[in-house]
Amino acid sequence: MELSQYGELFLSESREHVSAINDLLLKLEAAPASREPVEGVFRSVHTIKGMSATMGYTRVADLAHQMEELLERLRKGKGAVDGALTDLLFESADALEQSIEIAVEEVESEGPEISELLARLRAAAEDTAESDTGGVEMRLRVVVSPGSALPAVRAFMTIRAAREIGAVSEIDPPEEALLTSAFAGTLHFQLRTERAPAEVEAALRAVGEIDEVEIGAGGAEDVARGVEGSGVAGPTGSARARNIRVDLRRLDALMNQIGELVIIRGRLQRLAELRDAPELEETVDRAARLISELQDEIMQARMVPVGQVFDRFPRLVRDAARTLDKQVDLLIEGKEIEFDRSMLDEIGDPIVHLLRNSLDHGIESPRERRAAGKPPGGMLRLTAARERSQVVIRVEDDGRGIQRERIVERAVAQGLVARDSMTALGDEEIFQLLTRPGFSTAREVTDVSGRGVGLDVVATRVRALGGILEIASRAGEGTSFTLRLPLTLAIVRALLVKLGTETYALPMAHVSETVEITAEEIRSVKGCSVAVLRDEVVPLLSLSSLLRCGADDPARRLRTAVVLERGEHRMGVEVDELVGQQEIVVKSFDATAETLQFFSGATILSDGRPALILDVGSLLAQGSAAEAVAA
């Protein structure tokens, strides 16, 4: 079917619209009389209907159509939006999302049973036909006094006052703009209300510092026009930057290639130095600068605002809070902070776990909170901020906090630490015990947070990204989890080798080959071991003697060696075992050259254990020294 090439595009567009629908439904739930969310959801559902019908995804199209019917009635002001209706819309949005994902997988026959949902949507639409909300459409023009110190706040308060007496829409300048940019002083909006114009004027003037309130008639036609005309616009409808869609895999491939280029740049520079050819050095320097710039540009292209991931949380928190019968306010700050795309993909799940954790074990039920003298609604705050070269993401709640004693008891019971030494440990260290595998102190694993993603997995993920997880808490007051993450990653392909029980990583760029040598093929020349590989004599050093750990087993017949190469220098490094190749994230560490001579960094392997990265340069230097002796 030739339409299949549009499958990806349909999927990404639909997902954006579904995300917009969720956002708008949350807004509608918070302010049921408002019109804009209804308009927005209607537009998105309408667009999805069109796209899915074109693709032949009839199930999606049917559901979208039924939702559209209901929304059409609500748009026209027939029927009030209440809790039951928003629940139905949320449920429909979920079903829509599921049907879309399934349709694209081309297993439509296995979709969720939606005939019951369709019937309910039809019934809701018919109900609205009966209750026609009355009221008159008015066009409002409000001028804030130029003497006001904060006119934008007065505009905001005006909209709020209008919402108390009717349904507000077509706000110009848009509400979001009031928060961030300068407000010229004149506000326009549409109001549908049953109050008389005189009452409306009085209500708006009561906001204070209002000079003029002008009320005009009508405006419904503009609304209809607005819908048709914006069929092509994106789900948010706001000014769009000039962007193109790029497949994420392309950016990943670019990332890998630039990683390789960076390593080759080092080689080129070294080679140029050795040749002692100034022209060559100059050219190589210029190339090196270009490669650095290219690296920066590619890193930038991969940066994405965290808001993209944070956007799905309000809905998540709302649903979880309802399941647990708790009240909670989710505050999100720092949505515009940018982060590397692949890191963003990685932190999404850990943050979800931390949010669920707070909801489940942190924030108490309204009854418990009142008994503790706290307001019945809990506060959950998610913030992202830039601190020099780190991104700091924090999840905090004002719940019951972490009980140090329970952790101590559990740790002692598990035999992790002796009780006496516990008193010497600070709170932070005690809390970190929670990140040990299998340590959960939760009495029961609930629906909400018991998915098998424990705090230990969160901690491992954060470490694997080169970051730190900090835990702070005050019993009875609340808890905060802070993730400190580096801005960017360096991803390198490495060969993992084993020496005894330790695993080390060797950047693949300098690995020429791996060989197995029999004891007979190893010669000794002036006290140094060499191996004969094909026609070449290569110094052979054992990693265990270089690192001074582990033991060499002379009885071993078959030995494994990794041949390193840089320019003309080749050497073999004998190890116990080859583990395999892996892409690793390089994290540099603070260590003086003398103490960790042969290492250039560290990484966390996929099993969560740390591994040191061997510095090929210093190993080769040893090889050269040996060569010189043997020569």
Binding site: A149, L150, M157, T180, G208
Partner: protein, 120 residues
Amino acid sequence: MAQTVLICDDAIFMRTMIGDILTQAGFQIVGEAETGLQAVDKYRALKPDLVTMDIVMPDMGGIDAVREIVKEHPDAKVLMCSAMGQQALVIEAIQAGARDFVVKPFQPSRVLEAVQRVLG
């Protein structure tokens, strides 16, 4: 009988200024608070007719204090006091439940107008 006021600001200077403006207009200052926490406690104890609340204070800021107070006492009448240029914070304060705002430096007439609007 004079209406009662609770003044919340971490600077004695500001508390005195607002206090003077309101006293001269016939209000009775029944309490002062220096931090958001104190503001919440004192509101509970005094249940004043009006509260003036500074936005930036140590130990729980003004916005959080407004939120707490309004959660417990939905009829609370809070007037937010802000420095110049804190537009977004004032909007947050209104969303949290403050009824109106004034901007420092205070002009007595503006303050009293705002107080009248808050008291309704």
